[in-house]
Symmetry: C2
Subunit: 229 residues, 2 copies
Amino acid sequence: MHEIDVKAGLLAPNDAVARENRQLLAEHGIYAVNLMSAPGSGKTSLLERVLPALVERHRVGVIEGDIVGSADKDRLGGLGCPVHQINTGAACHLDARMVHHVLHHLAEDGCDVVVIENVGNLVCPAEFDLGEDDAVMLLSVTEGHDKPKKYPLMFRRADLVVVNKVDLLGHTDFDPRTAERAVHDVHPGVAILSASCRTGEGIGDVAAWLERRIAAKHAARQAAEAPAR
Amino acid sequence: MHEIDVKAGLLAPNDAVARENRQLLAEHGIYAVNLMSAPGSGKTSLLERVLPALVERHRVGVIEGDIVGSADKDRLGGLGCPVHQINTGAACHLDARMVHHVLHHLAEDGCDVVVIENVGNLVCPAEFDLGEDDAVMLLSVTEGHDKPKKYPLMFRRADLVVVNKVDLLGHTDFDPRTAERAVHDVHPGVAILSASCRTGEGIGDVAAWLERRIAAKHAARQAAEAPAR
């Protein structure tokens, strides 16, 4: 298949830059999370809910990936952290090279947390490592509980699956237990949290998960920097 | 941008095969529609609603495009028309070559209507012409009315935009008038219909739109075949 050959040719150089990004993040003790989902699953809404608390405790930088425009950047404009827009143009995902320069910039700025909102796409972003510490994906209940089986790569890539829009559970056929089983069929043991960005339900759990991961990354850096006794 | 060069290299051969597909459809008087949307917007649900009436009046063939599995094909199994599954593997969209062989098969089978359900993705399928007569796209109200501005290529490609899940309008921030303006900003004059695959609201309008387009295609063929007077 010509598609696969082309992708293999793109992924090797991407992975090389992703390793550089990961090294940069490690050197500066920066925790980075890559937020992915289908279009309209609530990535920006989740950031509107989670960022206000995050920016009180950390120096946060945000990278917004969109094909065109700056609608999401504009939504996050007043939250007290720098937001960098990347327009991918024809590309349906962010890649490691696109974020590389902005990561350098945020590192120089003294950020210790970077939040990357990827292009809304349940397929392609899953294939492109950006060098992040964690991949967080959203599945909104209106998309259906069959999605893990149909888009397994994204669910395998995720370190956390957030089931969003649970305020609409009573109005859809989405069955949380079926969804949980489907997620764990393709990615055994992965963390799953429920949330509603509309009502705020479960947002505290997502924020707490992020704080634990940030703390672990920063603790690892402090341990590495401690003088040998 | 290396991405764009790669895509340009893929699109030219795709367009050549799409022209062959279009010629094949014209020769056999087959109407073909390419159904596209984000994951979980209701493509398969729309087919479950629309196909039962279509198969009573036409010899319909369905092509299901999915990355892996046959979940959607299985859902459409009992509707009285052949359903051909194409698994794209690593590819995030159907291309003209993938459907070419199946189109030949359906033409030999005497089909006069072909319905192609593309991979759930609001980005990449928009770039790949399959040779279809019409592109129909779904936007579900839970995705938000900002999507036309964020994914303009898909909305420009569409011959019909179906705003789906209108039964959930009261539970979301989706504003139909804002959505309509946004759609027409990127694609002036394109037809927009509202529907709910859950309640059945508006499904008759979508079916009637398809019947008009099918009738026009078949009439064009009959006119071409009529002996010169």
